[in-house]
Amino acid sequence: QEARNYFKVGVITELSGDLATGGNITKRGYDLWAQEVNAKGGIVIKGKKYPVKLVYADAQSNPAAGAAAAERLITQENVDFILGPYSSGVTLAVAPVVDKYKVPMITGSAESPLIWTNKFYYTFGTIPPINFTGAASIKTLTELKPAPKTIAIIGSNDAFSKATAEAYKAAAEAARLKVVKFSIVPSGQDMTPLLSAIRGMKPDVVAFGGHDEEHVKMVKALRQIGYTPKALLMHCGITEKAFIDAVGKDSEQIFGTTCWTSTANTKSKILWPTAAAYSAASRKAFNNPGDYTQGGCSAAGIAFQVALQKIGATPGMSESMRAKLIKALEEVDVQTFYGRVKFATSGQYYHANIGLTPLTVQIQNSKIMTVGPKASLEAPAQYPMKDWKSR
């Protein structure tokens, strides 16, 4: 192993291709972490400071390119550890490679349950799988007054969105909400006809698993056909500033599922003391408060940092040191600006972060407000939703 006085960190993510939007958000998260660490002089290991240097590899939204990227970062760049991809597909192709070379990887974003059920020893994730978070929002909604009774659920047919819709469905059924319609639709399509049909069923809640562009289309379609459900639930994508910019006042009162917001009530001793501090830093760096994907990515860096400090690892880690690092990661249990990071070591969430509290948020006056669960409440949920026309 080459001797270095800095940590060389591989970053594999989707900088181009269909998933580039998400990939670039993860990049921001990783970048911000590295910036902050280096601003403080580096990671302190046994009293000595080691800065970090990120080496990027674009996975081009393509699993094969992801695998090649992993191989390059490990064998050519000799990175100490890896910050992982945005999407589950690429992660699934990268994970066997990092297992083979025994290099630890934390992905700050991929949240398909599939990754964790495969039980890759060297792969961790800071964002809990969607089936872990999805249930919480449904629960928040069922606690509203008057309680909604019916729900229509739509999912776009990609891995993540479909899992989201399925998670909502399972939770709704468990909460005795009547699912009047459950539909998976091809990605990117105009959903107006389907929504027209749903309008006829008048469900109290419409829940949707999709990506950013589809969120915009969804809201506009509902508005155009003049159907305002009592509650409209989407996923974390709505917490992105771009979404609120895109649909403006129509974003008001939309619910979302997340684990973190820029106003989340978190306290930390590492890097950023609070979510607000993180958010301020993000604004300064990218003119964007950051969303939970970005936050998860920065938190992934912190998790590594903590584990490294714990075992006193220095750059240019040997294989046995990296094995130790895995053990240390499994033992990480730390409060960060992002909330508690604690990786599961068994079961269906193997190596996913189960330390977080899933949050239900709502857009109120163009701000993301946490409306559930009670312990994290920032504002009461506004319900039912104001008619599109009277906005």
Partner: protein, 294 residues
């Protein structure tokens, strides 16, 4: 059954959108015999132009349509000579080369858009995006969003305008002659380069205007083009390539299939059905629905 009227209405409105995407595209194919892979990218550029004009001036994007048309007409007019050069090449297979050339353009345009506009999706606000008409009588209930209706009207206007241009004007006569036999058209005094440039300019201009409309109805983003390119192909092939009169019917059929399928069948199979239908129709009638493609 009570959903049927709405399903039909949605199908027609969706069909209107597909007309706007495909009609000018069909025209350029008919005249220049180029399958323009960049059709979606022209739409995307138009959409962003509308987006920024709206943002800077605060005026309704529909007001800018003529400006956008002229802007992109000029761009198309200037790009066409290069395509002409590729297509009139004496080496290789010009049809294929034209296709690959525009394929390259499309990739380049997408790269430029991602660099300039970034990755996020957005939307263009318009006074039409607000309201909708509701018809609720005789047990039939149909809601028609204003902006989609405007889209349909726009589609029909463009179709009528192109029809008039082609069938009733001397310029149109020249265009049609050019489409059928380039050299003979030249002998009749048709300036093939300039006419080709006009046609391509008109096509690019219309596509850019369509982008604004799509931005009002749906969403915009640097990567939006690909999806529309697919539908443009779909409609044009179904109509018979270069057969303009077939476009509205093919577009309506496509809209109907999507609408009916989403409502009455498993929505996840919608696209499967769409592609399967395209495939089957091509097998039965290899030159499009009406057998009139070139």
């Amino acid at each position: 059954m009570e959903l049927l009227p709405q399903a039909l209405a949605d199908g027609i409105l969706l069909g209107g959108i597909y007309i706007t995407i495909a009609i000018a595209f069909s025209l350029t194919y008919g005249v220049m015999h180029v399958i323009d892979f960049a059709v979606g990218e022209w739409i995307m550029f138009g959409a962003f132009t509308g987006f920024y004009l709206n943002k800077w001036t605060g005026l309704d994007p529909f007001i800018f349509l003529p400006v956008i048309f002229i802007m992109y007409f000029v761009i198309g007019y200037l790009v066409q000579p290069v395509i002409h050069r590729v297509l009139s090449g004496t080496k290789g297979n010009p049809f294929l080369m034209g296709l690959v050339f525009t394929f390259g353009l499309a990739i380049m345009f997408r790269g430029i858009a991602l660099t300039v506009f970034g990755f996020y999706s957005s939307s263009i606000p318009s006074m039409f995006s607000e309201g909708s008409f509701t018809f609720d009588n005789y047990g039939i209930s149909v809601t028609i969003p204003t902006v989609r209706l405007v889209g349909l009207v726009y589609a029909l206007l463009i179709t009528a305008a192109l029809h008039f241009l082609l069938k009733k004007t001397n310029f149109g006569l020249g265009v049609r002659a050019l489409a059928q036999h380039k050299e003979a058209a030249g002998l009749m005094g048709v300036n093939s380069k300039r006419t080709g440039s006009y046609v391509y300019g008109i096509y690019v201009g219309i596509s850019a205007m369509t982008g604004v409309l799509l931005g009002c109805i749906l969403s915009i983003g640097a990567q939006m083009g690909n999806e529309y390119t697919i539908f443009a192909f779909f409609v044009v092939v179904l109509a018979g390539m270069g057969y303009l009169a077939g476009v509205p019917w093919a577009a309506m059929l496509l809209g109907m299939v999507q609408s009916i399928f989403m409502i009455y069948f498993n929505p996840s199979h919608t696209l499967l059905a769409v592609f399967a239908i395209l495939y089957v129709i091509l097998l039965i009638s290899p030159r499009g629905l009406f057998g009139r493609g070139v």
